[in-house]
């Protein structure tokens, strides 16, 4: 059974089809990348899965349980953690407090949640900055904070929305290493939206390509990058 099973997912805004009949699955412990040009409907897809938006049609199942159209906090309860492409830190809280809010999802006591949050911050190399206010972080650090906060809820499935955008290649490699280690240690499943192909190639076992809200290709990273349809959507018609 797949960890995440998306069937015929559709969403329109004012008649414009942002996501159109998208079907895919993410196997347990898998790392799957969702790629596509700007405006392909990737983030909308995330919002539909994570409950920030309700789909017009289709279904979302997490480990067999139907979570279609549930509110975001219920989706989190079901076991999905997510990051936001446009980062949404709790500005007036410190880095540690930000992650503690996430950790409280599985911990009853604040002290235990704080310890867990501190551990996750160390893992994401934010330990030194734990007493800084989130508002004062640099953008790459805020992206890492997003990951830390989502991880702190101990999700079965992690949705990462462009967490490597704006990072230097060495920083990208470090995050890739962190995510790989995480999967090895905890068996977490990851679905990520990413433009940084270096990360996509290194991390994912499977790639799904969206274009104009529709799935146009999927397969191993090697296979997808050679698919003429994919090249065409990125480079325009006639490029192949």
């Amino acid at each position: 059974m797949a960890m995440l099973d998306v069937q015929g997912l559709s969403k329109s805004f004012r008649g414009l089809r942002a996501v159109s009949d998208v079907t895919f699955a993410v196997p347990e412990k898998g790392i799957v990348a969702l790629i596509g040009p700007n405006g392909a409907g990737k983030t909308t897809c995330f919002n539909l899965i994570a409950g920030a938006l309700a789909p017009d049609a289709g279904s979302v199942r997490l480990a067999g349980a139907d979570i279609t159209g549930r509110r975001a906090d219920k989706v989190c309860d079901a076991g999905i953690g997510r990051t936001f492409q446009l980062v949404k830190p709790f500005q007036d809280l410190t880095v540690l407090e930000n992650v503690t809010v996430g950790a409280l999802h599985k911990h009853d006591g604040v002290a235990a949640a704080k310890r867990d949050a501190a551990r996750i911050l160390e893992m994401l190399e934010l330990g030194d900055k734990r007493h800084m206010h989130a508002a004062n972080l640099t953008l790459p650090d805020r992206k890492r904070l997003e990951v830390a906060r989502a991880l702190a809820t101990q999700p079965k499935l992690l949705l990462l929305d462009e967490v490597m955008a704006g990072l230097r290649p060495t920083e990208t490699d470090r995050i890739v290493a962190v995510l790989q280690r995480l999967r090895a240690e905890t068996g977490i499943t990851i679905l990520l939206i990413e433009h940084v192909m270096r990360a996509v190639m290194a991390l994912s076992d499977h790639v799904i390509v969206l274009h104009h809200g529709e799935k146009i290709s999927e397969g191993t990273p090697e296979k997808v990058t050679k698919d003429p349809a994919v090249l065409e959507c990125y480079l325009g018609e006639g490029a192949v």
Binding site: A52, A72, F84, K88
Partner: protein
């Protein structure tokens, strides 16, 4: 306490000792001003719980105070129920009102300043209803019976006694509110409130039921205001809708936390102890000027005080939007920097 520097700890203890000693060292006038300070500190704490902790702006807290006051006053005058029992009903009524406003506001997604408008609208609506409620005295007012001998001694069940008793009652309430808010802020609910305040969408994504936690904030805050209403009713012994529920009353309770620091624990207390004495001094000065003929006799002293309050709020928002208390803390090194805390 753990976050305080040794000097900060000493200052806090000195302040607490001073508060306990006020009835022994101060005159009747200073005592009654102190009661107003503590009352505003208590109400400021209740209001701040909503805006400062959970990000919900209310300009209708006089409504909850008024409901608490009228409920306990009615039960006492008409049915002989003592306030020690009546307070339960007072809190229940205030919370019921709070839950109506909260439910409508959050279910219909009335955000930001429009939530504030909703609280104003409810408050004013109920005020006019009370004007017409003959069984509660209407515009003629409701009067709680009080006798000369009941102004001596201590009767906590009937909330009757000397000014000193009222002082200690409101001191206990203010201290209790402070300690409760401190415990809440450092607990799970406090983390969730602040998360919702800073970013509701992100809070929801980490599993926070924002509707539920916002309701908690409104219920707690309105309940606290209901208790204040009982104190108000039995301290002043007369209730007029205009005076208890007027919009100026709702604005009045916002002043101390704004000046002290929205979202801080000690800000409402600090603000109340700065603003109230200054308002009183100003009132005295204006009265003095009137006597000596420097300003016209027909000038409304109250108006001058209100002008000062408005100016204080405007200046604070312009110059120190985080309030005076964080600034004082930093200047006097009352609190350890975050890195050195336990």
């Amino acid at each position: 306490m753990n976050d305080l520097t040794p000097f900060g700890r000493a200052a806090l203890l000195a302040f607490a000792a001073l508060l306990l000693a006020v009835p022994w060292i101060a005159s009747g006038y200073v005592l009654s001003v102190s009661i107003i300070c503590l009352y505003l500190a208590y109400m400021g704490q209740a209001w701040n719980l909503m805006l400062g902790f959970a990000g919900l702006l209310s300009i209708g807290h006089a409504l909850f105070v008024g409901l608490g006051a009228y409920t306990s006053g009615y039960l006492f005058t008409k049915l002989g129920v003592p306030p020690a029992v009546g307070v339960v009903a007072a809190v229940a009524v205030a919370m019921a009102m709070g839950s109506i406003i909260g439910y409508l506001g959050f279910r219909f997604a009335i955000g930001g300043v429009y939530f504030a408008l909703l609280t104003i609208a409810f408050s004013e609506f109920v005020r006019i209803l009370l004007d017409h409620a003959k069984f509660l005295g209407g515009t003629e007012g409701m009067f709680l019976p009080v006798s000369q001998e009941s102004r001596r001694g201590v009767d906590l069940v009937n909330l009757r006694g000397s000014t000193e008793m009222y002082y200690y009652v409101i001191l206990a309430l203010a201290a209790g509110a402070f300690l409760m808010c401190r415990a809440l802020l450092n607990g799970r609910v406090g983390y969730y409130w602040r998360a919702i305040r800073d970013n509701p969408e992100a809070a929801e994504a980490v599993g926070v039921d924002i509707f539920r936690f916002r309701m908690y904030a409104v219920l707690l805050s309105s309940g606290m205001a209901g208790v204040a209403g009982v104190f108000y009713a039995f301290y002043y012994n007369n209730l007029f809708p205009e005076q208890v529920l007027g919009i100026e009353r709702s604005i009045e309770v916002t002043l101390a936390p704004i000046v002290g620091g929205v979202g801080t624990l000690f800000g409402p207390i600090f603000g109340a102890f700065i603003l109230t004495p200054m308002g009183e001094l100003l009132t005295e000065a204006v009265e003095g000027f009137k006597q000596s003929g420097l300003i016209a006799k027909n000038v409304k002293t109250d108006g001058v005080k209100l002008m000062f309050w408005g100016l204080a709020v405007a200046l604070i928002v312009l110059l120190k939007p985080k309030g005076l208390w964080p600034w004082v803390c930093e200047r006097l090194r009352l609190v350890k920097p975050p890195g050195q805390r336990g």
